[in-house]
Amino acid sequence: MLFASSVAEDFLRGILQGLPPGAVYGLIAVGFVLAYKTSGVFNLAFGAQAYISAALFFHARNEWQWNVVVAFTFAVFLVAPAIGLILERLIFRHLPPGSALAKLVIAIGLSVALPHLFELLIGFEPVGGRTPEGLLPNGGGVFYDPFGVYPLSRNELTALVVAVIATALLTALFRFSAIGLQMRAAVESPRMTELNGIRADRVAAFSWALSSTFAGLAGVLMAPRFNTLAAPDYFNLIIVAITAAAFGRLMSLPRALVGGFGLGILIAQVDTFLPRFSANNSWVKAIEDNVTPAMPFIALFLLVAFWPPLRANKDQVDPLSGVDPPPQLPVAVVRTRFMTNLTHSVGVGFLSVVGFVVMTRADKSWVFLVTQAAIISLILLSITVLTGLGGMISLSQGSFAAIGAFTVFQLADRTGMSTVLAAVIGALVAAAVSGLLAIPLVRLGGMWVPIATLAFASFFDAVVVKLPFVGGGDKALIEGTRIPRPVIGPWNLTNDKTFLVFVVLILIVVSAGVIAIRSGTLGRSLAALRGSEVASQSIGVSPVRPRVIAFVISGFIAGLGGALLGMQQENVNYAGNFTPYATLFWLVLVVTLGSRTVEGAIQGGVGFSLFDRIIFRGDLFGWILRDPDRVPGFFPVSAKWRFVLFGLSTIGFAKHPEGLVESGKRKSHERMERRRARREARKSLEGASS
């Protein structure tokens, strides 16, 4: 035996086990830093790009029966860089420097849109319950054991070798080629390269192509580690990449690579040395089983929240402040009172008609969808408070909503408490968690709030949900996480229409609250902080308190909404409703439609639930044509287009940060103002001539 102690042996095993995934993490981190440093884009769509290459490789091998070399070359060296080039050329090149948060929002939109667009274009369906193959045949079945402590599979060795080759090539490129030298200069100091007259455009384009190739490469190498092939798995990769890159303060490529290896080894060591207690205590076991894969999330959260050097990369506070032209006043503020009353009456009238039709004519499925739209609108209002009023982006709204739903489930299950009371408690718990989370984060500013909240959401997803006193544990696997609908006095909410009325009432109350907050002290403090943190402080506004309160309120609304969603479905349905990846779409809806207004949130809810049914299935068309048979043949359109449509609409965020609804209202307001001005000019002319 080579090793005297088993600890040393375990340690070596941990290293060997950690190296292959570490190599892949390193590749992702390097690719991520490359794009970030050359174009300022915090590319959250990196995971989506990795997914596309992995899925394309899989599809080419299994469906098209391509040769492995051809498939690999096509997926990694052709399509991946092409996607990078397209994104850079069509989108990111046109964004002004300094709009880091606008770029981040667009990247979030892309990580929703790209996987679905890809799936639609080549007819790919996510794969489950099957391990995708690696580059070499039987990669998971052949092992090599050089040191006699840990057998490396052929796939793992491939990953290691490919990563080493890629790093060597990248180093050579940086050392010996002209564009490589320029890229290195750009990575090390973008300002300097501008001074030296290097064509920043070309460097950025090339970096994006290269960065995306790394994404593709990592995607293909990563695939055999999962037993699924689906976009959400790959979305998580991005957190790993950011964590690895964070070790190098997002600045240095070599350190990002080292960070990747370090993270891989850290995970393996934790896995090896984590003390195992006897599994009497089921929640301890749940943590033991799940904490290892969650290490990157924990590490990232701690780094962001408590490691000052990272925060030196601070960007501006308001997601809307870097955009050009600057944000404008909501139309509701500048238009006349008469117009406001008119639009409100029209809106209320329209909603009353819809309400009447739904209550009298709609069948069960329509009532379900309308109720869902109302509940999602409620949840989206939590984003209106945080993003629209507070200028902060949170990616953990799904977790807060889930806390609300799980609390109701647990309380109802254990104590038989009325679910209405339980929903209020759930909302309070979500509010408390949200507020606690906010305390270390709100001063970080800029992009760090979304990153840290994403890390929290992933941690919640990976560990907290698995705890028996949250997600129900093994029992829930068999029985589900059921939530009964309550009966309040004469109201029996098991009746769908009664439940709809109940939900709408809550939506109205919360909307009124949000509007009141916007025009009150809190809303004004948040608006001031959004505009200029230092100037707000100079008049006595605390930079922490209003933002933490905004988080608390937002958490409350999300928790309440989550509880209602659970009640409606009579089940928490965590995987379908609340995962970090699924709930990205919430943010996308709100920012594209309008993050500052209640209307934006309600339209978002409608877009979420009813778009598919009304537009994509051709129902509206059929109704307009008065004949379902004359609906054109391309209906029904896949519901995935919803994600593509709204996801890509985030691109408009750079130009219209107020959202589509608000910018539409502004246009019509301006048109009317012009018309009135013309009319008045004509009148005064007539007056002058007579």
Binding site: P326, A516, G520, T521, R530, S536, I539, V541
Partner: protein
């Protein structure tokens, strides 16, 4: 030291290799107007940042009305009576002119809380609006009260900053180059307005300015900073005629 309102002792601040401030001490009496002048990069803005707590100085202490406020965060210092304007203008994009003052007024009154907001009582009250409009009128901004801030010129933006700072009813008002962006007449108007307001509510002013004429007419005493050090202080007229000062700062003006 009963008369001294703001007492800044031995402030030192380094940025990497640059000593932006070293051993700077400044005293301001209640109701006094003093000036701080010095060439570009002398450390004037850095001094304001240290007084308000935007930057943490490496050494030194700040007393306001005999209370050591060195450990307080910016907004606490502001609430205790330090108001300021910014050299690089800092406005609240997406708000109207009046909104800028309303939030300052609300914070000063300290009457806002979440419960009031939620019960619909958080909206600006009539007396708050009147107080803001009074100050806007003084500054000649009355017409612009409902304009979005984006539509204002740089000079008007500066006036809004002054108004916003005045709404906090400061004990000491720090003005960082208020005249840049204003023309000659506007500068004179602003000085007159400030004198008027000051006469009625008796606060102190520290003026950082490159416009020597304004400093000469507006301030009683003045300090001169050069490379982070105080090189002269005293009655404004004397300081401005001091040969050392003329060489360090006004050198190009001697013809």
């Amino acid at each position: 030291m009963s008369g001294i309102l703001l007492d800044v002792r031995n402030i030192g601040k380094n940025f990497d290799a640059i000593a932006a401030l070293s051993e700077v001490s400044v005293q301001v009496e209640a109701g006094e107007r003093i000036g701080i002048i010095g060439p570009n990069g002398a450390g004037k803005t850095t001094f304001f940042n240290c007084v308000l707590g935007v930057l943490t100085p490496d050494t030194g202490t700040v007393y306001l009305a005999s209370e050591d406020i060195s450990q307080f965060p910016v907004h606490e210092r502001a609430r205790r009576g330090i108001g300021r304007t910014f050299q690089r203008i800092e406005l609240f994009s997406g708000s109207t002119v009046r909104d800028h003052l309303l939030i300052a007024e609300r914070i000063r009154r300290g009457t806002g809380n979440l419960w009031r907001d939620l019960t619909g009582r958080g909206k600006p009250r009539i007396e708050e609006i009147e107080a803001c409009d009074h100050v806007l009128d003084l500054l000649g901004l009355g017409e612009l009260a409902n304009r979005p801030i984006e539509q204002l010129s740089l000079g008007q933006g500066r006036l809004v900053e002054v108004g916003r700072a005045l709404m906090t009813q400061p004990k000491v008002l720090l003005l960082d180059e208020p005249s840049s962006g204003l023309d000659h007449q506007e500068t004179a108007d602003l000085a007159e307005t400030l004198l008027e307001v000051q006469a009625s509510s008796n606060f102190s002013i520290i003026l950082v300015e490159h416009d020597v004429e304004l400093v000469a007419s507006f301030t009683d005493r003045c300090y001169v900073l050069d490379f982070g050090r105080l090189i002269a202080s005293g009655a404004t007229q004397e300081v401005l005629t001091n040969p050392v000062v003329r060489e360090a700062y006004l050198g190009e003006n001697i013809s």
